[in-house]
Subunit: 122 residues, 2 copies
């Protein structure tokens, strides 16, 4: 599992994609420990840059990401994780996907409805 | 178009997804100049960390990525670009997607066939 963690200071982007709908749900970062924890547990685990520690997605919300398949790219400096997303949405702002804004002209517009009330979860 | 380029030293991950098949084709990085060039030209432009300059995908191969939609995430520190990919594949190793390896047990296995001969293109 020889990934190239050195290129970006120990962290590689991890793209999380719904294995059924193929929607991209979120992008986080993993260090080698987070990647190994993801593989070992079958639950997506990131390295939180703001909290400076490992973070298993769903540990507070219950919105866990169950690993279905892991792929890497030609340079082995990024991973694509196909998941089953438990719960109504992965985004802490209440949306199915963190990518809920689309570029419209020169500004970002919210392009979908919330799927849950984050105040009741976080 | 107020993206947060500061969190990762001026560069944000740009996930490239086929707008039709929804396959994730590659992940690159953009600085603000690359992002603006992508929006202005309608062709995906990255910042190459190895060459330290802007790089419009396809400028040597012809395998251009035509922008269909651009989304950003809750933190505005990542973009998801839906594209029409011109040519037989985006990966310089001859595959449709750079994510041609899957984790199989503890090792990466090539999980698909090449779609073109890179020696004839690069």
């Amino acid at each position: 599992m020889d990934l190239d963690f050195d290129k970006t200071g120990g962290l590689i982007p991890a793209v999380i994609q719904d294995s059924q709908s193929q929607r991209v749900l979120m992008v986080g970062f993993m260090n080698e420990e987070a990647f190994r924890a993801t593989v070992a547990s079958g639950r997506v685990t990131f390295f939180s840059r703001s909290r400076n520690k490992l973070w298993t997605k769903g540990e507070s919300s219950g919105h866990t990401l169950v690993v279905k398949r892991i792929q890497t790219d030609c340079d082995k400096d990024c991973v694509l994780v196909q998941v089953e997303a438990l719960g109504p949405g992965v985004c802490h702002e209440g949306y199915e996907s963190c990518f809920f804004r689309s570029l419209d002209g020169a500004s970002w517009k919210v392009s979908e409805e919330k799927t849950y009330d984050p105040a009741k979860v976080y």
